[in-house]
């Protein structure tokens, strides 16, 4: 590491953006975290010099344990389901479209543009269009009547029905069982590969987790005084539909690029070996597309956490069945004047996004280093 002229120039060119990012990105993340640990928002929140005291993690504790914040907890669950439906929906539909276009139909260019076009719209436009399409007495609901069937009555964005309901109290048990199942799966795979020692190391904690989930529930304190039902809100389907419509074209483009990148020789070799189309895609193409799927999942997952504009335009401010932590953060902060509580919700959202972004950054960084060496 010599301080050559070249390095000095490079550093001084980068310096302004480093400083700006340090202040305007990381500085403000830091400030938000600090605010979330204070009681700003009690009393005269908008004073020139509002009173602020550090109160530790009380805001977070309130969000997760006060019975008034059931809406926040349901919003977290909504965010989880928004992520699942958006990722699965866009990947499947995008892959399907990509395979169709990969067969080079006539007018492929036009179709590609049509499918990719929704992505260029802003969330607000998409939300407004779909709000009309999913209106209770219009759009999608009257479609069946054109072919003589009775009109639909589903309340796309205002239904209050829930499926897959569970008690908030059982979340640790559910998490334990899901983790245990993953561990069991890993253990079985290790066992088959013949690494028995590893299988035991993985399998034992899985057994412990299952035992705890079944018998050990009472060992942890009750999080809430009364049972609180949460579940998958059917009203979120409407919002997810609009989001999938917007982003499946994007995954299509990613997959199509991937499929076109597969050498023709590989396709023909598979053909010569007697593989039919299904076998070609399942055994040859999909494994090659794996890295693309990973990037698409990361990008879609973090978009699903930033759906504020779509939900606000489509369902309005106070439509709890379709609510999202981002919408609640806006209302708590700028309508309810509870800046500290709003900051806590923002920090939780930030951590959720980091959950997706950091592993992605780490893996792509590693890849770069591998390629460089």
């Amino acid at each position: 590491m010599h301080l050559t002229r070249d390095r000095i120039i490079a550093f001084s060119v980068l310096l302004p953006s480093l400083i700006l990012i340090a202040v305007f990105v990381y500085g403000f993340i830091g400030q938000t975290v600090y605010i979330s640990l204070t009681d700003w928002g009690k009393g005269a929140a908008l004073a020139v010099h509002p009173q602020m005291h550090l109160i530790g993690f009380d805001n977070y504790k309130e969000l997760f344990t006060s019975f008034l914040h059931g809406r926040f907890r349901q919003d977290l669950i909504n965010a989880f389901f928004y992520t699942i439906t958006l990722v699965l929906g866009s990947l499947t539909l995008g892959l399907f479209l990509a395979i169709l276009l990969d067969r080079e139909p006539r007018g492929e260019g036009i179709f590609r543009t049509i499918f990719l076009y929704p992505m260029s719209l802003s969330f607000v436009v998409t939300g407004t269009i779909w709000r009309w399409l999913l209106a209770p007495e219009g759009g999608v609901n009257v479609l069946p009547s054109f072919i003589g069937l009775p009109a639909g009555h589903f309340r796309w964005i205002s239904s209050r029905d829930q499926i897959l309901t569970f008690d908030w109290q059982s979340i640790p048990a559910i998490t334990a069982i899901v983790v245990a199942l993953v561990l069991v799966f890993l253990a079985i795979r290790a066992w088959r590969k013949g690494t028995r020692k590893r299988a035991l190391i993985v399998g034992f904690p899985a057994l412990l987790l299952i035992l705890w989930a079944v018998f050990g529930q009472r060992l942890i304190p009750q999080m809430l005084p009364i049972p609180e039902k949460h579940g998958f809100n059917l009203a979120t389907i409407g919002v997810s539909l609009a989001a999938i419509w917007q982003f499946s074209g994007y995954t299509m483009a990613l997959y199509l690029a991937g499929l076109r990148g597969i050498p023709v020789a590989l396709h023909e070799a598979a053909r010569l070996d007697g593989a039919n189309d299904i076998q070609y895609y399942m055994r040859v193409a999909f494994p090659i597309l794996k890295p693309i799927t990973l990037s698409a999942v990361i990008i879609l997952a973090h978009i699903s956490l930033k759906m504020f504009a779509l939900i606000f335009a489509m369902a309005g401010a106070d439509n709890a069945p379709t609510d999202h932590p981002a919408v609640l953060m806006y209302l708590t902060t700028f309508r309810g004047n509870k800046f500290a509580l709003g900051a806590s919700i923002a920090v939780i959202l930030f951590l959720l996004v980091a959950l997706f972004i950091i592993p992605y950054l780490v893996s792509s960084y590693r890849e770069q280093r591998r390629r460089a060496s």
Binding site: P50, A135, G316, L331, T332, G336, K338
Partner: protein, 419 residues
Amino acid sequence: MRFKKLAIAVLVGIGLLAAFGTVMADNLTGNLEIFSWWAGDEGPALQALIDLYNAQHPGVNLINATVTGGSGVNAKAVLKTRMLGGNPPDSFQVHAGQELIGTWVKADRMEDLTSLFQQEGWMDVFPAGLIKLLSTDAGIWSVPVNIHRSNVMWYIPANLEKWGVTAPTTWANFLAIAPQLQAQGVLPLALAENWTVNHLWESVALSVLGPEKWQELWNGTLSFTSPEGVAVWNMFGKVLQYTNDDAASLSWQQATDMVVGGKAAFNVMGDWAAGYMSTTLGLTPGVDYAWSASPGTNGVFVMLSDSFGLPKGAPNSDNAIAWLQLLGSKAGSDAFNPLKGSISARTDSDLSLYNAYSQSAASDWQNDIVAGSLPHGVVANEGFMNDFATVMEMFLTSRDPQQAANACEAIARQNAIGE
């Protein structure tokens, strides 16, 4: 020598100031930025005021900063970031009552307007009850532009005749006729998105509690978990059975449309619905559509009022004071209100300018007991209003009156209601 120079400078200064002062009183210059959420249907009323101001003060460049969005949800957020950022507009729209006091006066962001009220003689022309809503012990904080009534029930007389019902005077009465309407395939009560549900709750609560106990709820002497408090939620749950299940995806205009189109029998909405039906839909008040006080609230006027205040640090405060003078004047009030569909806050306004509905509202305003509105910012601070929307969503899903009452009590304590 030096003293003499200073004295001359001071004298010249005073002379200049006096010269400018006399000129400025008639001829203000510079900018005036007014901030509101009046656009779309309410735009023409604001424009009438702006035209008047421009005619009176041609030297001022008036900047009309509006941020659209139902009942100001977006405008208020923008205003808060501007105030926190030290960039206040010269004057901004705010609901009279706790939305003004709890948010802005408590934060010491407003200028006291008591001397303006005395100078303009407003202490006598505005009702004392209204001035009380705009004041604290330390001063009067904004100038009211209009009065809206919240507890009104709208219907189409010809339709009611066809269905063989009359407008209910109590909720018990409503619950009795609702099944008859349902049997004929008519929705008894049209409802829209969350805030209109809160709006209906207010009317139901007022009929169950009466105006005195309603007031006690907000000064902290009556608990939300008292038997009366729970009874409100009980009755509200019964009324909700007869509303539409797609309410959350409708705007308030769409709920009014259901009544006008004959799909629904009644709608409880503020009297901006009269403006919508008369101006936008072209119906004649009293003939094509009719109204009564919402069931069980006859003789009570649940009011809300838009007002404008003067924030501390406003860059053009002289121009802003001229704006406030116009708003409070008889000319300004009578230019604005007939177009807005509201009535004047002044007791001496020219009633012949107003339509049949507004004339009846104006006479009720003078004779009825006045109560403050919850969802429109009069009786509770913004923290409570925001949390109440969440409690309402909780109730719409669970339909549990006791749980809702407990939650209300909890948020009332958290937001220091009645302290």
